[in-house]
């Protein structure tokens, strides 16, 4: 079980480019677009990790008036409370990436485990899991998370678990459909006859062969988590302030946009750049694993 967690975790950590040992290999073999993507992701990871050192001010410090223009003291201007926007973006990188990453990993762990189990065991297990997933999917996710968070509160661990739970059925469907094609392969049959345990089969036979579409999905789902947090904050729930996170920052500053103040676009651009970065890397990995060779 633990080994499974570790291996699936490392797969995904690698997918966002955080695995240092693979770096040299990556740099030699990847196209320019993937390098750009990796650079963006690294930049944000770096910014997040060293936010405390890089940021000119404290996370919550008020340094000026509301929505000030760009200046040398506040390079990106100030936010709706007069806090330095650059500082908030840097701290936001830490919180946002941390929460979205953890949520997505948890969601994938739940979704993949159940999805593979459904495919490998078939029969009643498959029926039961699939029907539960159908039920969960048929309730609008925003409404459901709104209700659950109202009941359970909005601390970070609760937020992560609730969002992961509600997101995992989507992963389940993909994992199940991908692994359906794999479990009927001869090598899985052979492993079964050899008497291998379910976990071993899922980890060693199914996972490596299902990894490509799952990674592609990871890139998108990772970004959807930002958006979900942002939508929740639009409806009045979300992270505990004064924690900076990009989704809530967009929401808090959004009113400025109809008067042509671009402040809300900055956190939105941060989300967009990370989305593009992650997906550039993911596209390349997909390309690599699909074995498709064509003009790049």
């Amino acid at each position: 079980m633990n080994a499974f967690v570790a291996s699936s975790m490392s797969t995904f950590v690698a997918s966002v480019g955080a695995s240092a040992s693979a770096f040299g290999w990556f740099w030699r073999s990847s196209p320019v677009s993937a390098k750009i993507g990796a650079a963006i992701v690294f930049l944000w990871l770096f910014a997040g990790i060293f936010a405390g050192v890089l940021a000119p001010y404290d996370e919550t410090e008020i340094v000026g008036a509301v929505w000030q223009e760009w200046s040398s003291a506040t390079p990106l201007g100030t936010d709706q409370l007069g806090r330095d926007l650059l500082t908030r973006i840097l701290y936001g990188a830490r919180n946002t990436i941390f929460i979205a990453l953890l949520t997505t990993i948890l969601s994938f762990f739940i979704g993949i485990t159940c999805g593979f189990m459904a495919a490998a065991l078939g029969g009643w297990t498959d029926q039961l899991l699939s029907r539960i997933v159908d039920i969960l999917l048929s309730i609008p996710i925003l409404i459901f998370s709104l209700m659950l968070l109202s009941v359970l509160g909005t601390s970070v661990p609760v937020l992560i678990v609730v969002l992961a739970m509600l997101d995992s059925p989507r992963v389940f469907r993909l994992a199940r459909s991908v692994s359906m094609d794999i479990v009927v392969m001869d090598y899985v049959e052979v492993a079964r006859l050899r008497g291998e345990k379910l976990w071993w089969i899922m980890r060693r036979e199914i996972l490596p062969n299902a990894v490509a579409p799952l990674i592609a999905e990871f890139g998108l789902r990772f970004c959807f988590i930002f958006l979900l947090i942002s939508a929740l904050s639009f409806l009045g729930l979300g992270l505990q302030p004064p924690t900076a996170d990009w989704g809530s920052m967009v929401r808090e500053n959004a009113g400025a946009i109809s008067f042509g103040i671009l402040t809300p676009l900055i956190p939105a651009l941060a989300i967009a750049s990370l989305t593009i970065g992650v997906n550039l890397v993911v596209d390349w990995m997909l390309h690599k694993t699909s074995g498709l060779r064509d003009e790049v």
């Binding site: 029907r131 048929s138 925003l142 998108l220 939105a268 989300i271 967009a272 990370l274 989305t275």
Partner: protein
Amino acid sequence: MIRLFVMVGERLLFGAITLLAVSIIIASSVDLLPGDVATAILGQAATPETVAALRKQLGLDLPFYQRYWEWLWDFLRGDMGVSLTNERPVAPQVGERFANTLLLAALAAAIAVPLSLALGILAAIYRGGWFDKLISSSTLAAISMPEFLVGYIVIAIFAVELGWFPSISTLRHDISFLERIYVMLLPCITLALVVMAHMMRLTRAAIINLLASPYIEMARLKGVGTARLIVYHALPNALSPIITVIVLNLAYLIVGVVVVEVVFVYPGLGQLLVDSVSARNLPVVQASCLIFAGTYVTLNLLADIFSSLANPRLRHPR
């Protein structure tokens, strides 16, 4: 073909079970939510006596299972009950909102589906080129914008700056169909921008995925041009995943658009549902959630039927 009918029958049965389960989950979630309709109606003005009096009027003093059972019994006989807050019958209220929601979704889909298919195919044809990269990056940027921000930007440009369209889409009752479409254009554009990226990317991926297959390789060796290869050889076989993703996005357009409804003041079902959840107005919450769940189940079934029809191999599983 018989297999298909059996599948449909089976799925409808499971669909009914799903709806039942959803209704139980919703009823118990609303029950678990802090407060009830009495405290929600009275808000800051609540006192213990008025809350108790209102609870009694509304029958909230009965135990949970009994209220659920009464609701279910009425529902099965086709009676959705009356709203707890304004005593209006639920069915016409929800029905009208759902019609609005469907209209918005249909209009948004009419813009988004052809456009994203075309862009997806073009991106696949010119994959790796600047066009592909431009389309991929801009659609990614579009989906990474929260919906309300896309809405605000669309309003700022088309309503405030250019003055072409109204910024709010509140519908007057006596409005003509063309006017209706006109006031709904901005939310439609917003929604189209939101869903296009996903559909376009999957169209592109599904087609590219097929390019590695031997039969495409064969056609390529025979000297078929890239564009022709993709449109005539790859696309028909990529239809099934494309249909699936289109249907999923349709479901999203119907079920997941509450934020856009709030921004454009569009009287859709999502807004009604959010209001009813915060008012703990269970009959309306139930009816809305069941409509959403029903939509989801139906669309999924349709997706499966269409992709079975598009791909005969799926009709005969091993």
